[in-house]
């Protein structure tokens, strides 16, 4: 700790900070632009000027930039003297010489850091009387709107995009007061993290284009804490609503998980909530037309009810724990299935047991960013778990940071650190079926078939520890590769092994665990992290139910009622098997929010709430359970699936807390869920928590065309929140912070006021409870057996599925902006294979795999491992068969 003096009063601050960090953490208001807690200091904007004194006797002092001045023991400053105040106001006045006074028509207005800092600096009257410079704006694709005239040149956008997120296509151009931030030409921003520009930009240069499509004033939005449903990482989000439509998603800070950032799938995938495909009324098949048609709720419930013990329930990894549990209660534990095919099911249980078995640590996403060497097996992270990729980038950066510290450059002094380190990065090894975006940042990469990736993993484990099983007949070059990876990992202090189910290979997952165990056995603080495909994959797997294949088996020979929870089975298994399953049931009931292929086959469809209209809990890839709280009252007949199940059961749960109590009692592993957020009857200062900001407008006017009476505030039985602007505004647990407003801080930067220290954990601790604990200190055990070398099968090819951040995930693919970025169906082959198969780019081929067929155009890709054929994962037009699998490819001849 260091003692610094602010206006002669002593304050204890953490060592190694700069004055801006220290002042903000202490709660002082110091204006800033170019500094960002995740991007650190560069000293460009000069907004955080304070006056520093040499010692007690120095009364003259000298203006310094707080962000560039170390808060060393004995530092004496004042924030509030006339000269530094005048300078800070002057900086604003300079910025205003070119900033258009278009706040009234700017999307950022009302939550603009520039507005806040302008007020904070005290600058009011502008003396500048000349013309302003103007720019041409660019079309940057479906996510980001560009309005360069508002730019104050803080350089945050490019520092985030390039330095932090390893993006390449956003840059500063030109110079003096005509610096331009954009692409070299109009076009889609390539980074999957581009949406963060909206929050990184302190003003309205980069704004949310999807929000713009249905814009509303930011102070008119009602928001609640939520969790992203578009991958398994459980990033915390703040969705916002007005007039019954979800308007946007913004980041919600969780120091242990996503920190300050989201990926674009998470930010722009929300439109499915407003989608035309939503089910809003109970539907039942009309006897006359055979079509699904709205029916009254009671009728639908009557049609959906099954005799005791006569229903089979199929749960879903994208539904909440509560909904899955409610279905389990409805149909009985032995008749409840996971809704995940056998292979995925097996992989999930295997991953959970490996995580629990230890001895490796199970890192949070924050801890992923602290690894000093990373080995990824089988996962294309920017496409399957983007925020983990972002954290791996940070790990690579932090791994070499000590070199800067050794040279006397503090970590917060961002530009010199990067100048010293240049392109030095921490060790990263990648083994994937095809080239990934991360390859260029990796020290070692290898593109191979899943079994070969597993063999490499086993070989690395064996190189680290002779007790680990070794693959047989390893090629010399692979052995050398394995030795190199082993050596680099052994040289680290906190190596991290990342794997997951994307290759559909249990051997890969076992190999990853063996590497982690071998590193632990070598005395290293190794960590093991698995990517999982869906937002509640782990939560559902912890319920320990059978697979979809088991459900199919159980339904064989007929079943009375099949209840399918938030699951489009046609995405999980081939059409014939799903048809057979649905055909085996007399009555098919689907609970879901979207009328997908499975729902269209149902006899009854009950309208389920999305994350925006319901409450529930999800468990992320590290086993962290987190609560999402409904943002808006459900419209029409929509309610949470767990409520539907309760009603079908005839014993509805009064509210979420009652259900959670039962869940904890029936499955004690989930007892902690009740701690995720304050219970519904919690009151703060005697009040509920408002979802709406204190400036919310239209309370009495919004419904005036229907009734001039002020509407009743909708009831929220499940959380301590209310759909109102009235309620408690003060310190509350992080799990129930709906937005980051603090007096004088209307933008996302107000978050500073909610953290224990800037960039640190949320006050009172980051949200979430870990349900999986690794048996750290357990003896290193080696499991599994290395597969044999990848064989060939005559004319057959091994078909692998290639994930796409945009398009592969079901719900986000329903969102317009994301759909725009999704690939068209294709069949990718390596150049050599294409030559061998006499295929060229654009040829049309028939793919036959499992018992499914598809007609696809050929894409020749140098980056795909030889011998493999790749198809995009989860894209319409690609058969939903278990991949990898062997298939045949026939070239279609003309006509």
């Amino acid at each position: 700790m260091a003692t610094i003096y602010i206006d002669n009063a002593p304050y204890e601050v953490k060592d190694g900070q700069n004055l801006l960090q220290a002042c903000l953490s202490l709660g002082f208001n110091v204006p800033y632009f170019c500094w960002h807690p995740a991007l650190q200091s560069v000293g460009a904007c000069r907004q955080c000027a304070v006056k520093q004194y040499r010692d007690e006797k120095d009364t003259a002092g000298k203006i310094v930039m707080a962000c560039m001045t170390p808060a060393t023991d004995g530092t004496r400053i004042t924030i509030d003297d006339a000269e530094s105040r005048a300078f800070r106001a002057q900086v604003i006045e300079w910025l205003m010489t070119n900033h258009p006074h278009d706040c009234p028509v700017c999307d950022e207005g009302g939550e603009c850091h520039l507005q806040d800092m302008t007020i904070m600096s005290g600058h009011t009257y502008r003396e500048y009387r000349f013309t302003k410079r103007t720019y041409n704006n660019q079309n940057l694709g479906p996510f980001i709107n560009h309005e360069m005239n508002r730019c104050i040149q803080c350089y945050r956008c490019v520092r985030f995009y390039r330095d932090y997120a390893n993006g390449g296509d956003l840059a500063p151009f030109a110079s003096h007061n005509h610096v331009f931030f954009g692409r070299h030409e109009d076009g889609v921003l390539e980074s999957e993290f581009s949406g963060n520009l909206v929050e990184v930009c302190p003003t309205g240069v980069f704004t949310d284009k999807s929000f713009k499509q249905h814009f509303t004033r930011p102070w008119d939005l009602q928001s609640a804490p939520s969790v992203c449903v578009h991958c398994g990482l459980g990033c915390n989000v703040t969705p916002s609503e007005r007039y019954g439509a979800l308007r946007r998603i913004r980041n919600r800070y969780n120091g242990e998980v996503n920190g300050y950032f989201l990926c674009d799938r998470g930010r722009y995938g929300y439109e499915f909530v407003n989608g035309a495909g939503r089910v809003r009324q109970p539907l039942a098949r009309c006897k006359d037309t055979g079509e699904l048609a709205p029916v009254p709720k009671d009728e639908a419930l009557a049609l959906a009810r099954a005799p005791q013990g006569a229903a089979i329930g199929i749960g879903s990894p994208r539904a909440s724990l509560e909904s899955n549990f409610a279905l389990r209660q409805l149909v009985g534990a032995d008749r409840f299935f996971m809704g995940v095919p056998k292979r995925g099911h097996q992989l999930l249980s295997s991953m959970i047991s490996l995580l629990r078995g230890g001895p490796a640590r199970v890192p949070s996403l924050r801890e992923v960013g602290e690894a000093d060497a990373v080995f990824v097996l089988g996962e294309d992270l920017t496409n399957t778990a983007p925020l983990m990729a972002l954290q791996v980038y940070q790990a690579q950066y932090r791994a070499v940071l000590p070199e800067a510290e050794k040279a006397g450059i503090p970590a917060w002094n961002d530009a010199p650190v990067r100048e010293l380190l240049q392109d030095k990065r921490g060790f990263l090894a990648l083994a994937t079926p095809a080239e990934t975006k991360m390859d260029v940042f990796a020290a070692t990469k290898c593109h191979a078939a899943p079994d070969e990736i597993a063999r490499l993993g086993f070989a690395v484990a064996h190189a680290l520890n002779a007790a680990a099983p070794a693959p047989e007949g390893l090629a010399a070059d692979v052995a050398a590769l394995a030795a190199g990876i082993a050596e680099a990992l052994r040289a680290a202090k906190r190596p991290l092994i990342i794997s997951g189910p994307s290759c559909g290979s249990e051997a890969i997952v076992l190999a990853a665990a063996n590497v982690a165990s071998a590193l632990c056995a070598a005395g290293l603080d190794a960590a093991l992290s698995f990517v999982v495909p869906e937002c509640n994959s782990i939560g559902l797997a912890l319920m320990d139910a059978g697979s979809l294949d088991d459900a199919m088996q159980a339904a064989e020979g007929g079943v009375d009622t099949l209840i399918i929870l938030e699951n489009d089975l046609y995405r999980r298994a081939d059409r014939a098997s799903v048809d057979r399953l649905l055909g085996a049931a007399k009555n098919v009931v689907v609970l879901d929010h979207t009328l997908h292929a499975t729902a269209q086959k149902a006899a009854v469809v009950l309208p389920a709430a999305t994350f925006a209209e319901g409450d529930g809990s999800l468990v992320n890839n590290e086993g962290r359970a987190q609560r999402f709280i409904q943002v808006m009252p459900p419209q029409e007949a929509i309610q949470e699936s767990w409520r539907w199940c309760g009603e079908l059961l005839g014993k509805p749960w009064k509210n979420l807390d009652v259900l959670l109590a039962q869940l904890g009692a029936v499955l004690p592993g989930f007892a902690e869920l009740a701690k995720l957020a304050p219970p519904a009857d919690a009151r703060f200062g005697g009040q509920r928590l408002p979802r709406q900001p204190h400036r919310y407008s239209g309370r009495t006017a919004m419904q005036a065309h229907l009734s001039v009476h002020e509407p009743q505030i909708p009831n929220d039985p499940d959380s301590a929140f209310t759909f109102s602007m009235e309620g408690f505004r003060g310190a509350v647990p992080a799990a129930v912070v709906p937005s980051y407003y603090a007096p004088g801080w209307n933008s996302v930067q107000g978050l500073n006021k909610f953290q224990e220290e800037v960039g640190g954990p949320m006050r009172g601790g980051d949200p979430g409870v870990r349900l999986i604990a690794a048996a750290q200190g357990a003896r290193a055990e080696f499991r599994g057996a290395p597969p044999a070398a990848q064989a060939t099968r005559g004319a057959e090819r091994l078909i692998v599925s290639l994930p796409h951040v945009f398009g592969s995930e079901e719900l986000s693919a329903l969102s317009g902006p994301v759909a725009e970025r999704a690939p068209q169906p294709y069949l990718a082959v390596n150049e050599a294979d294409a030559a061998a198969m006499a295929l060229s780019q654009g040829d049309v081929v028939e793919l036959s795999v499992g018992n499914a067929q598809a007609v696809l155009p050929v894409e020749v890709r140098a980056s795909l491992a030889p011998g493999l054929v790749g198809v995009p994962a989860g894209i319409a037009g690609i058969p939903a068969v278990q991949l990898p699998g062997w298939g045949t490819i026939t070239k279609r001849t003309e006509g």
């Binding site: 300078f87 070119n98 040149q153 110079s175 003096h176 007061n177 610096v179 010199p416």
Partner: protein, 422 residues
């Protein structure tokens, strides 16, 4: 006549001194001597003893600058700052075009002293003749074994490259130069760390001005005392002094440090042209404060010029006469600085254009009396410590001093709503 170690070999016909001519005149003796038996530390000590100060403008002692380079890690770099873009400055050009081997020898000596493995000459983008001559001279030096592996048969290796600037004033700032050399935007870097610790590509580096390095061969051959004796003041050596403006004989001369303003202007430059009289002098390139007639006897060395409120800078002075509007002249200079701002920090990026527009308004008869207060404020707010680098404070030097010495002229422009010189 005093000695002129920097320019004595330069041919009057404008052709460059060839390698053999340079050697006949005693060239490469210093490099032979240094590499033939002196330890790098001894070379560094000799330069320290000489008191040589950087000739790029800041005047930092060269040997001291070198001594911050850590001994250990390699590679290390020497970078020659030949980005001569300071308005009114044309001194390095003479050396680059006239006697390229003198610079090469200086490069070898300094590189050897700091243990550099590679050296770069970073040239102003417009110095195409200098580029050609330097490249020819470097090729000749390589051919003789004076560059490359085992220079002069020693164990010392040095590669030397010429890099042409993209053409920004700010690239003359040593850290912006390093960024530009790395292929990045020419923005200055945060200091500390200084280039000695983290310079080119994050490696220990020294950036020296062309003229600075050209002093080294003489120092190494003839010694510190000789070098000190060249000067009239405790700052050792000769200096290239230049004069531009309405003098009879504008030009560039090698003179002892400590020569007076009057000697340079009246004896070398032949005094003012008929019909004009001197009103002001910017002594060392555009980013130094005006001096006036009362400073004619000030000795041109680092300390004395600083004592009267300006800087020696590059030693190339711009003379302002009474037929030239001081507002217009300052406006012209500020226009340059505003355009050459890299755009990194707010005061410089957005403050200079405002100043420029305000001066433009005054100059074209649209000034307001309140503009003077605004200009005074800006001189303060764009001063040292407020901005990221020295560009804006440099720009404020002529403005601040003009507001001091020629305030009445500014006021007259505003009062009369016109430029009295037009």
């Amino acid at each position: 006549m005093s000695e002129k170690p920097l320019t004595e070999r330069i041919r009057p016909d404008g052709a460059p001194v060839t390698l053999s001519e340079y050697e006949q005149a005693g060239g490469y003796q210093a490099a032979r001597k240094a590499l033939g038996g002196m330890a790098p530390k001894e070379v560094m000590q000799a330069v320290k003893d000489s008191g040589l100060r950087g000739r790029g403008g800041a005047g930092f002692p060269t040997g001291v600058k070198w001594s911050f380079v850590p001994e250990g890690p390699h590679p290390k770099y020497l970078v020659v700052n030949g980005d001569e873009m300071e308005p009114g400055t044309f001194k390095d050009r003479l050396l680059l075009e006239g006697d390229p081997h003198l610079l090469i020898e200086g490069v070898i000596l300094s590189s050897y002293a700091i243990g550099a493995d590679v050296a770069y000459i970073f040239l102003r983008g417009e110095y195409l003749l200098a580029e050609r001559r330097m490249k020819e001279a470097i090729a000749a030096a390589y051919a003789r074994g004076y560059l490359g592996k085992h220079i002069f048969g020693s164990d010392y290796n040095l590669e030397l490259y010429v890099h042409m600037s993209g053409g920004r004033y700010i690239c003359g700032e040593e850290t912006a130069l390093l960024n530009a050399l790395e292929g990045k935007r020419g923005n200055p870097r945060t200091k500390p760390p200084f280039p000695q610790i983290s310079g080119l590509w994050g490696k220990p580096s020294i950036v020296n001005n062309v003229e600075t390095l050209c002093n080294l061969p003489g120092i190494l051959v003839k010694g510190a005392d000789w070098f000190k004796g060249l000067s009239r003041t405790p700052n050792g050596g000769t200096k290239l002094f230049g004069v531009s403006g309405k003098v009879r004989n504008p030009g560039l001369w090698e003179l002892p440090l400590g020569v007076s303003v009057r000697e340079v202007i009246e004896e070398c430059a032949g005094g003012m042209r008929d019909g004009v009289s001197l009103r002001g002098i910017i002594p060392g390139g555009a980013s130094t404060d005006f001096l006036t007639e009362e400073h004619m006897d000030v000795a041109l060395d680092y300390e004395t010029v600083a004592q009267v409120g300006s800087r020696l800078g590059t030693g190339t002075m711009i003379v302002m006469d009474d037929k030239t509007c001081p507002v217009g002249m300052v406006r012209n200079l500020i226009q340059f600085f505003a355009v050459e701002s890299c755009g990194w920090c707010t005061p410089c990026r957005d403050g200079l254009p405002w100043i420029e527009k305000t001066l433009g308004a005054i100059d074209t008869g649209k000034g307001q009396m309140s503009d003077l207060a605004m200009l005074d404020e800006h001189v303060k707010w764009l001063g040292p410590g407020m901005t990221f680098c020295a560009l804006a404070p440099g720009a404020m030097a002529p403005l601040g001093s003009a507001l001091k010495y020629y305030r009445e002229d500014f006021e007259r422009h505003i009062r009369e709503q016109r430029c009295p010189w037009k």
